[in-house]
Structures are given as C-alpha cells and as structure tokens.
Symmetry: C2
Subunit: 431 residues, 2 copies
C-alpha cells in the first residue's frame, strides 16, 4: 500500500485511478457466446456447461428434489443467520416502497404516479470460489417485495452438476423456484433471448466476472435492462485518531480479499495513524486464507494523508467510493458533505461486512466511480413508475388553451388540433 | 394505416415490430466526432458548428445580453402559457420527492437512505424544425428541484448563430444560466469529456436525432450516465365506441406528425369504430402543415381490431407503448391491468398533447418497448439514493455473530474478521 502525504489533486487522481477495462478482448470472446445461445438455446447452454463448467447436464433446471436435499445440507447455525439477515433486508427494503402519488395540479387535471413491478427479472449469482448466497437475499428480496411476476435465478453448477446448498436454501426461503444451472456470459444471453429452459426477462441483476459484466453491457442492445454498470469492488475508509487502527486495517483487508483487482483506499488527517494502520494490515494479512489475493489488491492501493478536512471530503466525493467507512470524530458533519458514495458505514462499530450481509442495506452497489450517477440496487430497481393523467371537460377548458399556444409555437399543429377539436366539441361545434 | 381484424399474437408482433436501428453505420460517423471533441475541445466544437450548423461561432456560451434580447421576442401569450405549464410540472415533480428513510432494523442497527442530487447534469435540447422549449421545462424543472449543482444546457444554433428565443426564455425562467450553442453528437461528447466552455457532467438527458441517440449510447462507456435508451416516439390508443372517432384520429395524428419513423397504433374492439377513425384521419390529415411527415408515419402504422378485451390488454402490455391513451367504457378496470407503459392518458378529454406540454407529467418517456423496464424521467432521475448504516456496540453484539457465520460460509474470512476483531475489543480482549 502506497502512502501519499498531502498530495496534489492531480497526484490523487492518478494514484486512485481505477484499472482500465480491457473490453475489446473480452467482447471478442463474449459476442460469439451470445450469438450461439440466441441461435441454439438450451443446446448451446449445455455445450458451454461442458466447456466451461466441465460437467454434462441433462436438465438445466434445478429440481424440487435437489432443493429438498440442499436444505438438509445447510447447518442450523447458517439457517438461523440467513433468517436474521433476511428479516433485516426485508424490513429496510419494504420501507422503500413509494406510495402512489395523486395530485390535482389544476381543477380537473389529475396526475398520478404508480410503481408497477418489472414483470420478468433475471438474477445472476456467480459461482467460483465463494457461494454468494448473500447476493440471493440482496436481489431476491426486493424482487419479491416489488411483485415481479417471474423471477429467474441463474448460477453455474460445479463439476458434479450441483449448485451450492446454501444458494438453493436461500432461494427457496425467499420463494424463488426457477433456478437454472447456467453461468457466465451464456447465462446473460439466455436471460436476454430466452431458451427452452430459461424464460426471457426484462431486466438482469447481479455481479459476475469480467465475462458476465461484458455480456450484461452488450445485451442492453437487445432491449433488456441491467441493474448498473460494474467494476471491481472497492472501499474507502476515512478515519482519524478517534478510530481504532486494527478495525480500519480489518475493513481494508475485508475488501482486499475480494479479488486482486479490488481497490482499497485509506484517507486520514494523520500520518502517524496511517502508519499504525499499515502496520496492522501487515500483521493481520498473515492470518488470512485469502492473503495472496489481498496482498495483490493492496499492492495497487493507496493511503492518503490529507490534513485539511475539506480537501479530504473533496477527494472522497471525486473518487465516489462504492463503500465508504467514516470513522472520524465529527462524523455527522462529514456524512452530510458526502455527495458521491454507494453505501456509507458510520462509526467504529459499523464494518463494511455488516452491510455486505445483514444490516439491511443492499450490497449491490455502484463501483468504478458510478456512485456519482447511479444508486445501489433497491426496491426501485425492480419497478417502473408509470404516470397517468385524467382531464375532465372542465379541466380541458382551462388547460387546453395553454397547450394550444405551446404546440403552435413548437410548430406542432396536430398536437394543437387534438385539443382544439375537443374544445370545439365541448362548445357544441361539430369538430 | 393497415387494418388487422382479430390477428394472431404472431401477426400482431410482426406488424407492431419497431423499426430496427442502423447503429453500425451511424456509429461510424459518431465515433470520430467523439474522438475529435475529446482531443480538441472547443476548437472541435466550433469546427463542427461550421460543418453541420453552417455558422462560424466566436463564443459557444450564450451571453446574458442574448438572453435579455430573447425575452423581448417571446409573445406575452406564450410567456403566460409557459408559466402555467411550469407551475403544473413543478407541482407534480415536487410531489415526487422521496423523504429520507430511517429504519432501526434491530436495536442498535440503524439504516438510512437519502436522496442526494447528481451533482452535474447536461440537458440536450434538439434544434431542427421545432423549437422544443417544452423539453427545457421537462428536464430543467426536476434538475432544479433535485438540487443539481451544475446544470448545462446544450442546443444547436441556427445559421445566424442564434438559439430560438423561446428556448432561452424558458431556460432563464427556470434558472438555467449555462447555455451552450452546440448540437448533435458533438454536444454529447462535450458534456462527457468537458471542454474549455462545456463542463463535464455526470448524467446526460434529452431527446435527439439518431446521431445524438447513438452518441448517448456510446458515451456510457466513459462513466457518464444517460436518462434512458431512445427510439422514435409512439402512441397506442385503446378506444371503444364510447370514444369520439375524431378525437382518436387527432391523437393518432399528433403522434404521426413527430417524424416519419413515429409509430401510431389503434386497438379497438370494434371494426366499425376503427373504420370511422381511419376515415377521420384521412380528412384531418389534409389540414396539417406537417401532413407529409404524418402520412409517411401512418403508412407504417396499424389499427388492430381485437374483440376480446383480455387479448387487447395483453397486446398492449406486450407492445409497452411510450404513450397510451385509454378511452373505453370500463377505463378503470383497464388502467389497473396495464403493466407496461410510459405515460397513460385516460378518458375522452385527455389528449396526449396535454401531457406533452402542460398537464404536469414528464414527456421524456421510454420508447421502443423500454416501458417494460424503464420509467420516464422524473425527480428520481436527477438523484442517487445513498444508503447509510450505523451500528452501536450493543447492535454489533447482536448482529455481529450473524455476519460472522455468513462470512465464514462464503469463505470470506477477512469479512468475518472485521467483525470478530471488534467483538473481541468489546469483550476487553486486545484484538
């Protein structure tokens, strides 16, 4: 981890730059996968399962028997933990519901807005080294709360053609029954085009490796929406001497273990504190099973000593971190000044991992600086807000002439005429 | 306009298919424009103004003098109309504000969510045949209500290097002072990369021709967000014999005059009614200044007689119209069953043009079937919703063990350790 002391904004920008995506090379691999799935459906999915997951699948859909068997394999302790996390996530996401809006903007002119579920959604849960059942909660719970009609979960099988029991248990717990054994870019393609086993969906959610990310970006051409653009995960910790160096080190490491391209950033007013944290990191690193990954991530990471708090906050807002931990004395004041961040963790007893799993907030968050212009996944991500208007004859008598003048000035005479013809009718003139 | 009577779902799908975008050819033209603006800034913008707008510009920014002069040129009548539209749009959009959410999900575990304005937004207002000052209202008002710090409006100049006075008047009325004389793909590039005159923004809004649309899609690679993917405008009218054929014809024509690629669709249970509407269309068409445009749009358009109401509603939801007019006897019942639409106009006295200008709803809506998975522009479009959590020591004692179990089962030990280290500290153990 590099240490910068009171660097210039340019120096900061350079050191905190995110890694550049190598989209071209990856798209070259992903595009033919999309094409093949579009053309051959399940047949292509089974072929890719052989090729990439090293397994021959007869059926792609997870059966009821498999789900029942999986439930037996999850420990009581984990079941209880997942139940608490579910309850917290449900509670915070249910509270996000937008009540219907009805506004009579003028007498006889009533505007409404209503949240309507996106009908068909696809949830992608990565396979790989860690079974991300927590992501099943984070995507599945708001999808269910929103009332999406069809929820399809795709996740890659292991070499025995099985899905991790904790993933099946969690999906079943929140009422998702359509689970498909398919991973990678081919899963994204299946959700986009539909296959014999995989229903076509309107929006695709979920994290994934660079192939999944590239596929999600590419399929937006075909009318499907995605949750947000993605990049490697990241955390920025802003801490002063009121914080505990060991806690800060643990938080930075918990992000660093995600992947070798994860970014972790420490911003602090005190060089002494920064050095204590770096020392703690070195000590704690040794105890971690994923220390090689964390080590590599840390080698691309930076600790910034920034004595001036205004400058520190400006740096944070410019970086726009996915996760932002604030452990400083005047935390409320700092929190109020944060304008770009995905999710904010406040105080010494709020580790990022609390939000990753169970505090109730969503862990699907904008990375790569997208916190400037995107929100994390929430109940809103699973609905559209449709607007409605109803105008009474009396309302049109007031509003109509306004519309006529505006339409005429925009040279859109048919727009004007749609009002005029009604006003004339109301006046008793035929047309 | 083609007439289909009780067609099969396949036939409907084929006839109501949207025109395919020719993205490849357009991207070939747009990509070099983006590159040149990124590289040469204002110099490139001025060169493109000469090439595409046929005007030599010394300065790109609209001056205060120009705005003052423009105000003189707008009629009192239009000023008054714009003021009413502004008031309605403001009222309906202000009502969309999401109150801050605070939820103590467990004792000592407090989650919050707050809307924070996207800091820098760019609004694109097309030039061309019609001066779209109404779009200035539709984008500028929610941007101001949201509290965006920097609002930049780009719009192409005419051959005298001027912007239409109604656009300048409207922008000034809602407090937008940064107005840049730049149109086309080069405007989108300027907002994405920033130039000497045009600030870089976080999100770009607004309609435009196919070059603008292509540019918006392409620049999303560079970290900027856009309001939504775009396509030609469209309306679907669902009307039965309780509706007035002349009104329906006028509504269909008001959409058809937008552009030759506009789509208009009539769905009705009655063939007799459909024929009356078609007859009305032919009569009204003759009176329109933009009749050539409307004629071409109509030649790609379809009237569908669908006697069965369930099938008609299913067709509408499958088509997912940008604008949906419902003028049938059991309107409430039908409205409740609509799950895919941008904005809905209910009853005989609610023409689409009311919403286009002044009813209060936004007119920037998802086209091209994107009403399945996108909302129209609203106050939400100009904010991010940041989540926060704060856990007390007591809260962590309850929630921490849950997180430890889940992290361990996802094989993320550093995630677990960020909790364990704190719990140990609270128990009085050093680390």
């Amino acid at each position: 981890m590099q240490l910068l002391v009171n660097p210039s904004p340019e120096k900061c920008k350079k050191n905190l730059a995110r890694p550049v995506h190598k989209t071209k090379q990856i798209n070259k691999i992903v595009k033919p996968i999309l094409k093949k799935v579009e053309k051959s459906g399940d047949k292509a999915l089974k072929k890719f399962a052989q090729e990439y997951d090293h397994v021959q699948l007869d059926t792609l859909l997870v059966t009821e028997q498999e789900i029942t068997a999986a439930k037996e394999l999850v420990s009581k302790e984990l079941k209880a933990a997942i139940a608490v996390a579910k309850s917290n996530v449900e509670r915070f996401h249910a509270a996000q519901a937008t009540p219907d809006l009805v506004e009579e903007v003028m007498p006889g002119v009533v505007c409404r807005r209503k949240s309507v579920p996106i009908q068909r959604v696809g949830l992608y849960i990565p396979g790989g080294t860690a079974p991300l059942f927590s992501t099943v909660l984070m995507l599945g719970i708001p999808a269910q709360l929103a009332g999406c009609q069809e929820i399809v979960l795709c996740t890659p099988p292991n070499r025995e053609g099985k899905i991790h029991p904790a993933i099946l248990f969690t999906a079943d717990l929140i009422g998702i029954s359509k689970i498909v054994k398919v991973g990678g870019a081919q899963a994204i393609a299946a959700l986009t085009f539909g296959t014999e086993s995989v229903p076509q969906v309107d929006k695709i959610f979920g994290p994934g490796n660079q192939y999944v990310t590239a596929a999600k970006q590419l399929v937006t051409k075909y009318g499907v929406a995605i949750d947000m653009p993605a990049g490697p995960s990241e955390v920025l910790v802003y801490a002063d001497e009121s914080a505990v160096p060991a806690f800060v080190a643990a938080d930075l490491l918990s992000q660093a273990e995600h992947g070798i391209d994860s970014q972790v950033v420490l911003v602090t007013p005190s060089e002494k504190f920064a050095k204590k944290v770096l020392k703690e990191i070195n000590e704690q690193l040794e105890t971690l099973p994923r220390k090689d990954i964390a080590y590599k991530a840390l080698s691309n990471s930076t600790a910034v000593v920034m004595e001036d708090q205004e400058k520190a906050i400006s740096l944070i807002n410019q970086y726009a971190p996915e996760h932002l931990i604030i452990a400083v004395e005047n935390e409320d004041e700092v929190v109020d000044k944060i304008v770009n961040a995905g999710s904010v963790f406040i105080g010494n007893y709020t580790p990022e991992s609390a939000g990753d799993y169970a505090s109730g907030t969503n862990h699907t968050l904008p990375t790569y600086g997208y916190a400037r212009n995107y929100s994390g996944v929430s109940l809103d991500s699973f609905v559209k807000k449709i607007t409605y208007q109803k105008i009474s004859p009396e309302g049109l008598k007031t509003l109509g002439p306004i519309v006529e003048v505006m339409a005429e000035n925009e040279l859109l005479h048919a727009h004007k005429n749609a009002v005029t013809i009604r006003l004339n009718y109301l006046k008793g003139k035929k047309k």
